[in-house]
């Protein structure tokens, strides 16, 4: 049939990792093109002129961008091992929770990691509130998708890796096992699933990268006169 599938990604991007997982889960053969984001290739700029970002899926020469759009495209094009449920209401719920994970959970946890002082405290409060909703949603399920990993799991999957990395760097316990037992065990189950486990970026490299990001953020906030203390 001559299917050509390429994925433009970086070594560490959690957004691109979602697409890696989706392709692997469905057993789709693809070529990974690793981009140096400080030196973007002409091809990247040609395929994603609007946002100039990865991930980009190129299927038979046609580019699709934005990780959620790519995931839906993959699910609609390759029908095996579905990521989204079949029932329209269940699909709507999956899309709702994926959006919640992206717009609220990710933003609040990132802020809890990267910010300082009062902003950090407020971010932790928001993150805790958001996680409570997720904990409730997990009742009676192994994964958000049920017995198998699905759309919402792929969206939140970064947490199963970065959660412990953030904890190691700033000593911040984001998903406390006592407060969020279901989420905590989800993180273990997800991280240990073969496809997921085999595709994590190198941990030591990740720690160096995120420590550097944090150092830069601290440096720029203490040099600005408007920060307190």
């Amino acid at each position: 049939m001559g299917e050509e599938v390429k994925l433009f990604r970086s070594w560490s991007s959690p957004f691109a990792l979602r697409i890696v997982w989706a392709l692997e889960i469905k057993g789709i053969e693809y070529e990974a093109v690793f981009e140096d984001l400080s030196n973007k290739s002409p091809l990247l700029l040609q395929y994603n002129p609007v946002h100039k970002k990865i991930p980009i899926l190129v299927h038979n020469g046609r580019p699709i961008v934005e990780s959620f759009v790519i995931l839906e495209y993959i699910d609609e094009t390759w029908k095996q091992a579905p990521l989204l449920p079949e029932d329209p209401y269940e699909r709507a719920m999956a899309r709702f929770w994926a959006k919640f994970c992206e717009d609220k959970v990710l933003i609040s946890i990132w802020s809890a990691f990267i910010k300082q002082g009062k902003e950090q405290e407020e971010a932790m409060v928001a993150a805790t509130e958001n996680l409570k909703f997720l904990e409730k949603e997990m009742k009676g399920k192994k994964f958000f998708g049920g017995e198998r990993i699905g759309y919402v799991d792929l969206t939140l999957g970064w947490l199963a890796n970065l959660g412990s990395i953030f904890e190691e760097i700033v000593g911040l316990k984001i998903v406390d096992e006592e407060k969020f037992p279901l989420l905590y065990s989800w993180m273990q189950d997800f991280a240990e699933a073969p496809i997921i486990r085999d595709n994590w970026p190198p941990r030591d490299k990740m720690i160096v990268k995120f420590q550097a990001l944090l150092d830069a953020a601290i440096a720029s906030s203490s040099s600005s006169s408007s920060s307190s203390k």
Binding site: V65, V69, E72, T77, A92, F96
Partner: protein, 256 residues
């Protein structure tokens, strides 16, 4: 007809039925089966998207106007996470987030015009640009409404730059180059564009400035103009003067 026999069953016998049949009976009795309710607010462009989609599909629904300063128990129960409108309730099941509701409508009611294209690549294009409209304009439009002077100029500059990206990116979307709609066949992207910029004249009057300039953005201008001719769009347009006052009051409250 078969089901009506069961209406006379006593409680104990009913309990012996499989759960899903029991639920179906209950919903039929409550008149909830296939019942569609939309919780909204008259000025919300997000609610308008859902109204347009429901009209295109010819789906009868009950509309409930919410006072967002005094949200109803129903709204808080149906959307506990965000506590926002629109919320669509179908068969007692609530769905929140306007774009998610549009996808749900498309997948649930198979009759009538398709809101999303069938082809996955075409769908991806439409979802991408709808997401662009959704993500790129709201902050700047809000900021422009609530500010004046330099801050306002900066916000509007951002809006115009992004309109240009949209204009250029959607260049090949219409076969003849000119936006044209058969009957009421608005799609996902059309609906989102219409909800954000369709009533640009209202915003222009309220803020005394041009938002969609036919010289700057001819495609977008002719696109929204073509949509504004359609009955389904006209019927969902909030009253002009009421909208102008509303935007002006948003602005007035912030500039004090």
């Amino acid at each position: 007809m078969f089901l009506s026999v069961f209406f006379f069953l006593t409680g104990k016998l009913r309990e012996m039925l499989p759960l899903h049949i029991n639920q179906k009976l209950r919903k039929k009795e409550m008149g909830e089966e296939n019942k569609v309710t939309l919780y909204g607010m008259w000025a919300s462009p997000f609610v308008r998207r859902v109204k347009i989609a429901l009209k295109i599909k010819g789906i009868p629904y009950e509309y409930v106007e919410e006072d967002l300063r005094n949200k109803s128990q129903f709204l808080l129960q149906y959307n506990p996470v965000h506590k926002k409108v629109p919320v669509l309730v179908h068969n007692g099941n609530p769905i929140a987030e306007s774009l998610i509701i549009l996808e749900y409508i498309n997948e649930t009611w198979k009759n009538g015009p398709k809101i999303l294209p069938e082809d996955p690549f075409e769908r991806a294009k439409v979802r991408f640009w709808a997401d662009f409209l959704q993500q790129q304009f709201l902050d700047s439009l809000r900021s422009a409404t609530k500010s004046s002077g330099e801050a306002h100029e900066k916000a509007m500059k951002d809006v115009f730059e992004k309109l240009t990206v949209f204009e250029e990116g959607t260049e090949g979307f219409f076969p003849n180059g000119t936006p044209h709609f058969e009957g009421e066949n608005l799609g996902f992207l059309d609906i989102v564009l219409c909800s954000l910029f369709g009533s640009h004249k209202v915003g222009e009057e309220a803020l005394a400035m041009k938002i969609i300039d036919p010289e700057r953005h001819p495609l977008i201008h002719s696109w929204v103009t073509a949509m504004n001719e359609l009955p389904v769009v006209k019927e969902t347009l909030p009253p002009h003067d009421k909208m102008v006052s509303f935007i002006q009051s948003l602005r007035g409250n912030s500039l004090d």
